[in-house]
Symmetry: C2
Subunit: 175 residues, 2 copies
Amino acid sequence: MQDIANHAGINKALLHYYYRTKDHLFNAVFEKIAGRMFEKFAPVFDEHLTLEEKIRFFFREHISFLQKNPRLPIFLLNEMNRNPERIRKIILHMDFQKFWLKIEKQHKEELLRYNLTKENIPQFMTTMAAISVFPFAGRALISAILEKTGYDFKEYLEERKTYAADFVIKAIKKD
Amino acid sequence: MQDIANHAGINKALLHYYYRTKDHLFNAVFEKIAGRMFEKFAPVFDEHLTLEEKIRFFFREHISFLQKNPRLPIFLLNEMNRNPERIRKIILHMDFQKFWLKIEKQHKEELLRYNLTKENIPQFMTTMAAISVFPFAGRALISAILEKTGYDFKEYLEERKTYAADFVIKAIKKD
DNA sequence: GTCTATAGAAGGATAGAC
DNA sequence: GTCTATCCTTCTATAGAC
């Protein structure tokens, strides 16, 4: 609380005046921050793009967003792990069925050319998220290894936007 | 320290007798635990298997290991993020060049049929790790979504061992 | 609303008996 | 080696002046 007060240029007493307890303050911060992460997923479903373009769009936008907020993933993952009930309650109010129906409708014939079904959509979506998020969650490890082997982490991230898209598209294309 | 002492069935004083400070205790725990995670990567390079079999072997073994230690990823990721210097020092003493040379040697002709080069090996390796680790790091979020949409997290993990392997192999195969 | 001062609890660490 | 008792610091939270 002292550190936060210092950063805010006020004192501890005022923090408690506004938030009453440390717990309330943390929740306020968490909820403000958590929203930003998931907002980035939504527009993907609305853009008038082909499936492939949507995948490219997602990686480009999501990784760019995380480049500006590199500590967000580890913060959110850690907090969701520490307090799973909170995220369960948030999820309960969301309609995921809707997203899949949108995709099915928008890409009816297109879907025939890809290995994407209602059954494997959880595997696919978590794979997308994994590929985008992990470089930031594991940043300390990855940038240490890259540094050691003569690569640059920033370049690695730039490359990843297209590598990830190419990788995923190739993986799901029927032929 | 009180909680740990309780779990161990001793008292705080004895913890300090053995580890002197809380920091020393934490380091002892971290080093003991961190090793287990990376041990799982090593045998992949030694087994006499084709590249595809190695990929299948990796996901099967690594995800099985994490099923038994589901909280390991988030603990390690969080701690590496909190203290990047520690992991940098550990990495400094490892020879990654060696691993790539092993693969190049063992799979000389085979490699011609895959999109795997010295240049994109960091992208590839981090993608493998991401796909395996993320379901556990993001367990709270993923199992909340799966629950909500009528899937089962345990089944999801079992399926993932083969889904991940199929996905990755398809992604890197030239044709 | 914003501050200073301080209460009250908890945490890390040590002293000293056995 | 293991315990109890206790010191000292840090932390959350509140009281009360302005």
